[in-house]
Structures are given as structure tokens and as C-alpha cells.
């Protein structure tokens, strides 16, 4: 006859199996409640993405840009040799006269051209879709800057000092928007999205595209949106509504 005690004894012998079964719901629950644990690697179960509603984006508003500069320690200068991870772009339809402003940053493509051309493997796409530069092996050749159709990447020309401890940056490397990966790994939104929410425009929504219940998935389901240069078939993680 098998009782609770015997069951536990057998369980102890086949610990791995039982642990796997009993852990699974716990892990899943943790995943929903608090995001990823620090020791857990990013996986393709998630794909981070963003929807930007250009009709809500404020005229002349630069909150997202300044939030990005503060978070990542950028100078905020806009010269040809200055780093810009996010830019406000003004567009006008010459036929209809319709005008829009929209923020453009690294679009975190599913098939990133920057990763294709990188000769060292420094340009990389993390399992959860965030495209990053591994500065430890970046040689500063700038192929990726030429390959990017969105002009998203910048090269650091001068030595830098007093960087944000969470955002290491330095001379001789290419860099771009990281979706504020340091914040995303803490289960927070990128700085630009937070700033946009605070400014009251609420034009940017960020979240997990693989989770049908996330705000960004819901918004993308409800509204027609498009990629910039959708013809390139890069399947960007950043999509725009209203252009």
C-alpha cells in the first residue's frame, strides 16, 4: 500500500523529475508576476517591442529624447559626431500636407542588417529580440552604421568620462538604442516610454509582443500599424501607427 510517506521516499529518489514538475508552475508564476529572475538568461519566449502612435506624439515635444540622454549619459548634442540614440523626425506628406512628428530609434529588427554585416560578432541580437553592440569586441569599423536603414547607430569619436555605471560607453565603439536593456532586465519600461507617459502624450507603448495580454500586443491588435521601410522585410520590433 502506498501512502504519503512512501510517495515522498520515491519522489526523493527521482528528485529531478518531481522537481521539474513541481518547479514548472512556480517558474511560470514568477515569470508572469515579476519578469525574469536575475540568474535567468533572456529567452525567445519574449520578444520586446514598441508601438508608437504618431497622432499622439506631441509637436515640439522632446521628452523621450531628453529622457534617453539622461538615462544613457548622452551629451544631448546633435552634431554629426555626437551620439543620438533617439531622434524626433518630422515628416510631411507632400500630396496631402499631413504633418507628423515621430521618434525614431533602433527598430530592433528580427533580421537586423547590422548583425549581418558585423565582422566580429559584436553586433548581436539577444534571444528576446533586443539588438545590442558588444563593445568588448567591437572594433569600430562602422559597417553596421552603413547597413542600418534607420540611421540608428552612432560612433563615439572622443574619450568619455563619468559614464552611468549601468550604461558603459566609450571611444572607438558603435552604439545605439538598447531599449534601455538595464531597465528592461529589471522589468521596467525604457526611459523614453516612461517619459512619454509622464508628459501626458502617451504615444509610446512597450512590452512583450509574444504575450497576447500585454498592452503593446493589445494595441497592435486593435490598431493598424506599420514598420518604417516594411519593404525591407526586417520585421522590426518598433511599429508606427498613423503614418
Amino acid at each position: 500500500m502506498s501512502d504519503r510517506r512512501d510517495f515522498l521516499k520515491t519522489s526523493a529518489k527521482t528528485g529531478a523529475v518531481v522537481a521539474g514538475v513541481s518547479l514548472a508552475p512556480g517558474v511560470l508564476f514568477y515569470g508572469i508576476a515579476q519578469g525574469r529572475a536575475p540568474e535567468e538568461a533572456a529567452s525567445d519566449k519574449r520578444r520586446y517591442g514598441m508601438l508608437i502612435d504618431t497622432t499622439k506624439c506631441g509637436d515640439g515635444c522632446r521628452e523621450c529624447v531628453s529622457a534617453c540622454n539622461t538615462e544613457n549619459g548622452l551629451s544631448g548634442k546633435t552634431g554629426p559626431q555626437d551620439s543620438q540614440w533617439i531622434r524626433k523626425v518630422e515628416i510631411e506628406n507632400l500630396q496631402t500636407g499631413a504633418q507628423h512628428e515621430l521618434p525614431v530609434m533602433c527598430q530592433h529588427c528580427e533580421n537586423p542588417p547590422c548583425v549581418d554585416v558585423c565582422p566580429t560578432g559584436a553586433s548581436m541580437r539577444r534571444a528576446d529580440g533586443i539588438v545590442l553592440v558588444d563593445r568588448h569586441i567591437c572594433i569600430g569599423c562602422r559597417y553596421c552604421m552603413m547597413a542600418c536603414p534607420y540611421k540608428a547607430r552612432s560612433f563615439v569619436h572622443e574619450p568619455l568620462h563619468d559614464q552611468n555605471p549601468e550604461v558603459p560607453r566609450g571611444k572607438g565603439c558603435v552604439e545605439a538604442c538598447t531599449f534601455c536593456v538595464q531597465r528592461v532586465d529589471r522589468d521596467e519600461s525604457p526611459a523614453c516610454v516612461d517619459a512619454c507617459q509622464k508628459s501626458g502624450h502617451q504615444a509610446m507603448v512597450f512590452g512583450d509582443l509574444n504575450d497576447p495580454a500585454s498592452a503593446v500586443s493589445q494595441a497592435m491588435k486593435a490598431h493598424a500599424s506599420t514598420e518604417i521601410r516594411a519593404d525591407l522585410g526586417l520585421h522590426t520590433a518598433v511599429r508606427y501607427q498613423g503614418i
Binding site: R36, P38, E39, E40, A41, A42, M124, R126, A127, D128, L132, D134, R135, H136, P159, L160, D162, Q163, N164, P165, E166, P168, R169, G170, K171, G172, C173, V181, D185, R186
Partner: protein, 131 residues
């Protein structure tokens, strides 16, 4: 041929003698570390860290950047938060600071600080070092 073999043996012997003589010297050298760490003890034994800190940091940097593993035990940020000197608030601002004092002695150039902050962040300074 024998002459060459003798030469090789002689070289080997000389190397051994030199290494044998140099080891106690190197071990007896007190690194000129003025910056006392803030924490009670390091994340690994000191002897291990002296020889292997670069391996730990390299391993951690690859995991953190490429896989998004954000454990704090072997992170460079953790080193800086604990080892920043009271005088300069940095690990690499002056010759007496933690990293520079050893690396100047061993003549190993550091690239870390071209990109990484040598001072703890404001948040870390406010909260102090975790035990």
C-alpha cells in the same frame, strides 16, 4: 646536437632558478593599496581573486551582455561599489586606487575604464554596500 641540448637544459635550469627566486619576492610584496574595501570580505577568497578576477569578469560580462544574466556576485559594478577609495571615490583615478595600484605594479594595461564608470552610481552610494 649535445651542445644544443646542454644549452636548452641550462636555459631550463636557469628559468627554474629565476622563477623560484622571484616567487617569494613577488608574494612578499605588499601591494600599495590604500583604498580599503567597504565590504567585510570579497565575493571569493583573496588569493583566488588575485589570480582569477579577470576570468570571472570576462565570464560575467559575456553572460550579462549576451544573455541578459544580471547576477551581481561577479559584476564589475559590484567591484567598483566596494573598492572605490574614500579619497577619490574611484577605483582608477589615482595611483593609490584599488585597480591602478596593482595594475601599475604588474604593468598590465586596463581597458575597462575606457567605457565603464570608475565610480559607484548615486544610488549605490546612497544605499551603501550590500552585506
Amino acid at each position: 646536437m649535445t651542445a644544443r641540448m646542454f644549452a636548452k637544459l641550462w636555459m631550463l635550469l636557469a628559468t627554474l632558478v629565476v622563477a623560484g627566486a622571484a616567487t617569494p619576492l613577488a608574494m612578499a610584496h605588499e601591494y600599495d593599496v590604500h583604498a580599503k574595501p567597504k565590504g567585510e570580505r570579497c565575493v571569493e577568497p583573496t588569493d583566488f581573486m588575485r589570480r582569477n578576477h579577470m576570468e570571472l569578469l570576462k565570464h560575467h560580462r559575456n553572460e550579462a551582455l549576451r544573455q541578459g544574466v544580471r547576477t551581481t556576485k561577479h559584476s564589475l559594478k559590484g567591484c567598483v561599489e566596494c573598492h572605490a577609495s574614500a579619497k577619490t571615490g574611484s577605483v582608477a583615478a589615482s595611483k593609490e586606487d584599488f585597480c591602478v595600484s596593482c595594475h601599475a605594479y604588474t604593468a598590465v594595461h586596463l581597458d575597462c575604464w575606457d567605457c565603464h564608470a570608475t565610480k559607484p552610481g548615486k544610488k549605490a552610494l546612497k544605499e551603501g554596500v550590500a552585506p
